[in-house]
């Protein structure tokens, strides 16, 4: 019991701590691919430290929601992070929650982010919030169904159990259902975390923003919290993609050797996924906004096909 709690705690802290590094790594890879030198991997930490120290300027029209939102976002994201199987597949995840709780927590974060964007009553904030909700309405079901596909074959919605079952019986991983669900999950990941081709995270043109527009009014520690939560969300989703669909390397016991090996494995997997993400961002242009629902409908259909094939061919 104590050991399980310790493992869960370590996993959560790990995710939270390395999140900005992941974001920095992706930026570095992107820069290198574009022929620039790029900032160091630890640059986001420096930015966060700087932003934490700055003073806040808050609009007069902001209400208590504006103040509450960053904390809810961080809380929801950290809670979601505690559910993810990062190193160990042998956790008693039923204690805390399963796939549906995870999806709900992510949605809670998105919801409050959108509220925070709407609250000050600025035009850009409202625009960003409405766009974000459109995207979220299509990505949340996709993520849920994609992971549900895996849950159907394993017979349990507990994330650790899912990862563990695919480890035990690799035959599940070959076959259209698994591949389709993975593809759908990746597309939904790109949309959820606001990366190209759905949303450009480094844009300064307000009319093209989705995620950035919502946090235009935030400054100082609030902004730092929200940025950190966004980094944690990216790392969390990448970890899920890596460990649910390709769980090899995860520890199935609590032996220290296994845990260290699992740590290395997850770092390697995150590095590969991050590189792929950077490659994709360098290659594609941002989609026009009315094309985004088409992409998301495609990913939803793929997830639906994956679930159908898993459900009917057992």
């Amino acid at each position: 019991m104590m050991r399980d709690a310790l493992v869960i705690g370590v996993q959560t802290v790990l995710l939270i701590v390395i999140a900005p590094a992941i974001v920095g790594y992706v930026r570095l890879m992107k820069a290198r691919l574009q022929g620039r030198r790029g900032a160091a991997v630890v640059q986001p930490y420096r930015e966060l430290r700087k932003t934490f120290r700055k003073g806040m300027v808050i609009a007069d029209s902001a209400s208590w929601i504006f103040h509450l939102a960053p904390f809810v976002i961080v809380g929801a994201t950290v809670a979601a992070a505690s559910l993810a199987p990062v190193i160990s597949a042998a956790q008693p995840a039923d204690l805390l929650g399963d796939l549906f709780v995870l999806a709900a927590l992510l949605m809670l974060g998105t919801f409050f982010l959108a509220l925070g964007g709407l609250d000050p009553g600025t035009a850009f904030g409202g625009m960003g919030s409405s766009r974000e909700m459109t995207v979220a309405a299509l990505t949340e079901p996709t993520i849920a169904i994609a992971v549900l596909t895996l849950a159907l074959t394993t017979g349990s919605t507990s994330l650790g159990a899912i990862a563990g079952t695919v480890l035990k019986t690799p035959a599940y991983a070959i076959g259209p259902g698994h591949a389709l669900a993975f593809a759908a999950f990746l597309i939904a990941l790109i949309a959820e975390t606001g990366r190209l081709p759905v949303d450009n995270p480094s844009t300064h043109l307000e009319l093209t923003m989705i995620h950035e527009a919502m946090i235009l009014e935030y400054s100082g520690p609030y902004l730092a919290l929200i940025e950190w939560a966004a980094a944690v969300r990216l790392t969390l989703l990448l970890t899920l993609a890596a460990n649910l669909f390709l769980p090899w390397g995860m520890a199935t016991s609590l032996a220290p050797v296994a845990l260290v090996a699992a740590l290395l494995a997850i770092v390697v997997k995150l590095a590969i996924l991050g590189l792929l993400l950077a490659l994709l961002e360098t290659r594609v242009a941002k989609l026009r906004l009315f094309r985004v629902p088409e992409l998301l409908a495609l990913s939803f259909t793929l997830a639906l096909l994956a679930a159908a094939s898993s459900f009917f061919t057992k």
Partner: protein, 207 residues
Amino acid sequence: MEAAFSRITMTAASAMLLLSLVVLWRRHAGAYITAFRTQSITLAVTGAIVAFYGTAPELFFVSFMILVVKGWIVPSVLSAMDAKRRSGRELHPLLNTETSLLVCGALAVAAYEISRPLAEVMNLATRGGLPIALALVFVSLFIVVSRRDVIAQIVGFLMLENGIALLALLGAYGVPLIVELGVFLDVLLGVLVMQAVVYQIHDTSAD
């Protein structure tokens, strides 16, 4: 061995289904023709795999015919038709992309349900891919019904034929050779006649 055979055919069938989704997703006629060509090549490869594992040597000939007729001749005819048209404009279907894709998801689920009695009576190793073949048939039907552009309609019809060929391949390792030859002839003649009629459409509506 049999499990691998089953899985490979299922994956190939899924690839064919995904290629048909391309027609709903892209808006350019060249993309449709490429999707059809790739789908036909995948079908030919599937045929060869079934011929090998299922010990049905005449299927090698059938796969070769599929490659030649549907993988080469028909796409060339379609490309010629497309080149003759004046456009490069985007093609607007009757139903928008998001709804079309969602309808296809629903059709795939329906296909799984409908083909359940069929999959139950079959005792061949390829029965897992049967619902996917039926889903391809339904999705192709939907493409024909919901597209306004002529090339998209023809590609939808040809994908329907591919789906039925896949159904026959996975369901009974192909139909008798004489019927297979008749089908090829019909498809080829059908496409040529379609080409002739489409050219006449252009001639009479050229103003």
